[in-house]
Point group: C2
Chain length 386, copies 2
């Protein structure tokens, strides 16, 4: 079977990373054949440094008309994700889209429609879904080992970003450039895992975002969100880029047990009898259900970005099921949009959110933006990024 | 110096506990001389079983007029705490009051005024303040080791209570009997420590209480509360009586470090330079302040209820400073009242709260109460209680 020819759209920080592992031959059945990069200096640099077999485009139409790719990886700034994905589907290309799926759900819904109409393979770069810890946790929940979920709590504050980070790119942390802050840039993985592992989306959200609280930026750099689910469960999601040392601790309590993921380990406590059953039958005063601490084997390694790209390529070539179907990108983004909207309205937001209302507010933020940074695009080293 | 003669008001579950350690001679300089108990059967039992040197009263006026006590420990149902304390102050007695200080702050404010007017020693039974972990944490914060506090998160769900617990007393978990649920019965210590350790009270609170969610009761059995402070810090407080196994994890992040108290251990991370200083000077991309994990010695033992009672007696006899001054009881109760009120209003509540509005709502809850339990008063074993 022929190799899938991959075009990378946007060869900045993340696009370069994708190009590198593809060029290093880490992905079976795929070859980078084309790059599309609008920043002139970056495009020039690429032309001089990449293999002559890879064509570098600076013009969108020329790239799409070239016929040099079967599939694209989209790694541009967030606003262009949906637009470029739609264009790719129109050109009969498979699409692997970097997170987030887009900036507002209205845009992403159109992308999902285009994907469906095209019949092409569509995946999101939700590389954290390859983490065996989260896979195991999802498996435990889906198999009912935790019982009915009652409470979810994720403190994810390991996103320390200094002012110099924000100043490194004019588009960073602006309404016009990113459409948000820690929710749209750092947290898309957690917001996705939050719903993917549990299989649940909240009924409504009451969130408290703070904009430019820790840094001179206009978007949110601290968030606490409270979520309510149809089954009565509640959740709290806490994140910030202003805290050191950060915490990454996920706790999920069900009526048969509790799981905590922290410091790269999964901890599982299991009730000998489900809580509701104990409650029905117990006749004493201060007793509680017998609880066992259980050691759960977590096997395998996190295959990360290359893992998702391999899965995407296998889906195209062999029909392998996608680990992160593109249509699911809207879920995490809905959570993110709802958290911002709840803050702007200072009120509850029910799901599905009012997409037009969100879009209106976002437009207003962009219009009233006071940020006029110089556009100094720098591709940062990405060790701290996911 | 003569022993302080102590009268115990309310000799049920907790009152008995206080009587026992006093009779066992655990408190230097104090003797139980009188008991006041309104439940006839319980009073009869006490008359038959306690030393003949201890007088047992069933009439309030007789007890107060007897002149048999210099100080009282109040361990009645919550609603009577303030009323009885006021009466005790009027009779020139020192008062050690069980938690909570009362059910609504209006009542507690009157108690505080009476205490001040009397000039007598007034302490709250905040026995958790004797826990060396919390004392050390408070010391670290007060000495500035954490720097400016930015985020507080307490998950305290180790309060599992079955339906049979709630059914064990007609007054339990009713508006008329307790004036609330997990906030007023189980959490007063945590709500007190929350403000005592940090020295901060929130500016406003947005809370989500659930009433009778896990048990057939009318009061709150699950709460998530979001708090905002004047210095920009935020907090989340989560509690429930419906979860097993529970979590008790306190995390406090400051701009010089972070503390976590969990599983009876204090964990401390300290930044080599304060975060704001790092942020001002760092010029790179994804860097963060150097952080040291520090082992902090935590010495001493939790002296618990006898510790507070000893401190109270020493304050009377030697002028020793109180660990838990009675006037501070209103602080934790304000948090509790604010959390309920925020839920009832489905909105923010600013501090100090509107005491009349809270009282109105509480009156309404009592009026509309559908609970008509049999009054089967049982003194439960208190191993699970604090």
């Amino acid at each position: 079977m022929k190799n899938i020819r991959i075009g990378i759209i946007g060869v900045g920080t993340m696009g370069t990373r994708h190009m590198n592992y593809l060029q290093d031959g880490l992905i079976n059945g795929a070859t980078v054949t084309a790059l599309y990069e609008t920043t002139k200096e970056r495009a020039e640099w690429l032309k001089e440094h990449v293999s002559s077999e890879i064509e570098v485009f600076t013009d969108e139409d020329a790239f799409f008309r070239s016929g040099m790719a079967d599939a694209v990886i989209i790694a541009t700034p967030h606003y262009d994700h949906s637009k470029l994905a739609i264009k790719a589907f129109e050109h009969g290309l498979h699409v692997l889209c970097e997170k987030p799926a887009g900036v507002y759900t209205k845009q992403v819904r159109e992308m999902n429609d285009a994907a469906q109409a095209s019949g092409k393979v569509f995946s999101m770069m939700y590389n954290q879904r390859t983490n065996p810890l989260y896979q195991k946790l999802r498996e435990l929940i889906m198999d009912g080992e935790l019982g009915e979920i009652r409470r979810i709590n994720w403190i994810i504050t390991t996103w320390y970003r200094s002012q110099s980070y924000y100043d490194s790119g004019g588009w960073r942390a602006t309404w016009a450039g990113e459409g948000g802050g820690v929710l749209i840039n750092q947290c898309p993985h957690q917001l996705d895992l939050w719903q993917w592992m549990t299989g649940m989306m909240p009924e409504r959200i009451r969130a408290f975002c703070y904009f430019g609280k820790h840094r001179e930026i206009e978007v949110e750099d601290e968030v606490t969100a409270f979520t309510e689910y149809e089954n009565g469960a509640t959740g709290v999601f806490i994140t910030t880029t202003g805290e050191a040392p950060g915490t990454n601790r996920l706790e999920i309590a069900g009526d048969r047990g509790k799981v905590i993921v922290e410091n790269g380990k999964l901890h599982f406590w299991r009730l000998r009898v489900p809580e509701p059953e104990f409650n029905r039958t117990y006749q004493g005063g201060f007793g509680s259900p017998e609880c066992w601490k259980v050691d759960i084997p977590v096997k395998g390694e996190e295959t990360a970005h290359p893992g998702i790209t391999q899965n995407f390529v296998d889906a195209i070539r062999k029909g392998t099921a996608l680990l992160a179907p593109g249509e699911e990108g809207i879920k995490g983004l809905t959570l993110s949009n709802a958290m911002q909207l709840s803050t702007w309205l200072d009120d509850w937001v029910s799901l599905p959110i009012n997409e037009d209302l969100y879009y209106q507010h976002l437009q207003e933020k962009m219009k009233n933006s006071s940020v006029k940074k110089e556009n100094k695009s720098i591709a940062l080293k990405v060790e701290g990024s996911y």
